[in-house]
Amino acid sequence: MEQILFYCFSAVLIFAATMVITVRNPVRAALFLVLAFFTSAGIWLLLEAEFLALTLVLVYVGAVMVLFLFVVMMLDINLSSLQEGFTRYLPLGIIVAALITIEMLAVLDASHFGLDIVSAPAPQPEGYSNTKAIGLLLYTTYVYPFEIASVILTVAIIAAITLTLRDTKSRKAQVVSEQVKVRAEDRVRVVKMKTSKPDNDQEAGS
């Protein structure tokens, strides 16, 4: 049963990954990337890595890809101009692809990753929670790398904000405290007027 599921997920994953690079429309490519993430999360679930699988969906599918789509949808990409340089860049592309293939072949072969060297992980006992296991490892053994990574991310956020935040003088910003302090008397003036028909003041007053 697990094998059938694994092959189903793998087939969908490979299909989705191929579509990401072959589909012309960038929005559809991004959506296929979402599908690829989702199916790889499914494969991780089969490996009993439920925390990583759910976090993959939560972070990449739920947040990163949404922002990705957000940007891609607003781009007005001319498809014909994208294909213009195809023959010009082809030789360089082939060289890079060949290099990557050779490098991967050098490392990812049976002598390093064969079943006799890396045996299948033993199924965890019931009641085992890899959320707790990961949490314990992250906050004890690997606490310094973890903290350093978060500091680097904070620096990246601040850098991104300072790079995009230019010309603070001409920016139109709302002063929220002033908006909150506003009372009706500041904005609305009630003008008392003489009614034109004194005997029927209800209609005229409204």
């Binding site: 969906v57 947040a63 949404v66 949808m73 959320t131």
Partner: protein, 366 residues
């Protein structure tokens, strides 16, 4: 294979039906309740023509929508236009798999239930974005963009609020979170986690694009937002997804902060008098309260301006949750009762147990 179908697949399918069918009926009557409640708040009667007191109104609406033509705009991206409603309804229904309705009454009792719900509900925004883009309409596209930015912003505040519950309960399993609140309503998490409770529910209102955060639809600004090009059943599916999400958020609020299926009279003199009430009834009553809040908000508050929504999410809710997380963690460590005495013991035992497991894993991998 036959055994697998008979003893595994069939019961699960049956249970799914048992959850989805009442959910669909609940959605139908939630629309009726919405029109009635808002009607009475505005001193109107609301729907009262179809059937006795208008009770058949939702059925009539459903039949009408089913027989309406689904119009496919010629300039739209047809494939994505059809897929979008499916992307909206799928996550809205899938999230119900881990909802504990009563002690042991749950479809999939998984350990990381809370994480699962967060992950699955975060997928719901794709339906909105894809619908807005595929329609090839300015209004729909504006609605989709507004919705995407809003949902992504409020998800962070919501996630932090749920982390507070997680710290208090020491578990991601929804059933265990409910059991952590046992012992009378003063044990429920809405008291020690009150700011998180408020942030959670308001973020939930924002996540479901309901008033006063309904800029994604904003009738007065962008016609109907992301689903302006949809008609008939395709439109009805977006509608179903939105209301199913509302019920989900309300029931989650009841489970996480209001003791789920636990009786509010637990630990008081009234407990034996109400012992015959099944837990499901308590859960449904608590859920109805939150659903009423949704309708009440809609009838009371004018729509937020877009920049105010962003400000509320990023500059108010997230700092509030961050501060309160520190407070909750301190309360948890200091064993402040009545909420954190048992739970902290639970957490301590868990701290000891997996430590051994982790070492074992490391040894194995060596």
């Amino acid at each position: 294979m036959m055994d697998f179908v008979l003893y595994t697949l069939l019961p699960i399918l049956l249970k799914i039906m048992l959850i989805v069918m009442p959910l669909m009926i609940a959605v139908a009557y939630l629309t009726y309740a919405e029109r009635k409640v808002i009607g009475y708040i505005q001193l109107r009667i609301g729907p009262n023509r179809v059937g006795p007191r208008g009770w058949l109104q939702p059925i009539a609406d459903a039949v009408k929508l089913m027989f309406k033509e689904v119009i496919l705009p010629r300039q739209s991206n047809l494939y994505l236009f059809v897929v979008a409603p499916v992307l909206a309804i799928g996550p809205a229904l899938a999230a119900w798999a881990v909802m504990p309705f009563d002690a042991g009454l749950i479809l999939a009792d998984i350990d990381a239930g809370l994480l699962y719900i967060l992950a699955i509900t975060s997928m719901g925004v794709y339906g909105v974005i894809v619908a807005g883009w595929a329609s090839n309409s300015r209004y729909a596209f504006l609605g989709a963009l507004r919705s995407a930015a809003q949902v992504v912003s409020y998800e962070i505040a919501m996630g932090f609020a749920l982390v507070g519950v997680l710290v208090a309960a020491g578990s991601l399993n929804l059933g265990e979170i409910v059991l952590g609140q046992q012992g009378g309503f003063w044990h429920w998490y809405f008291i020690p986690l009150f700011p998180l409770f408020v942030v959670y529910f308001l973020s939930g209102v924002a996540e479901t694009n309901r008033a006063p955060f309904d800029v994604a639809e904003g009738e007065s600004e962008i016609v109907a937002g992301f689903h302006v090009e949809y008609s008939g059943m395709a439109f009805a599916i977006f509608f179903l997804a939105e209301y199913a999400d509302m019920i989900l958020i309300s029931m989650l609020a009841a489970v996480l902060f209001m003791g789920g299926w636990l009786s509010p009279f637990q630990g008081t003199v009234l407990e034996p008098a109400f012992a015959w009430v099944p837990g499901l009834i308590w859960l449904l009553m608590k859920t109805s309260f939150f659903l009423f809040l949704y309708l009440w908000f809609r009838a009371t508050f004018p729509r937020y301006r877009y920049d105010q929504i962003m400000r509320l999410g990023w500059k108010v809710f997230i700092p509030v949750t961050l501060v309160w997380l520190v407070v909750v963690s301190t309360m948890q460590v200091m064993d402040i009762g009545p909420w954190f005495t048992e739970a902290s013991d639970l957490a301590e035992t868990m701290m000891v147990e997996p430590a051994a497991d982790v070492e074992q894993v490391q040894v194995d991998s060596l």
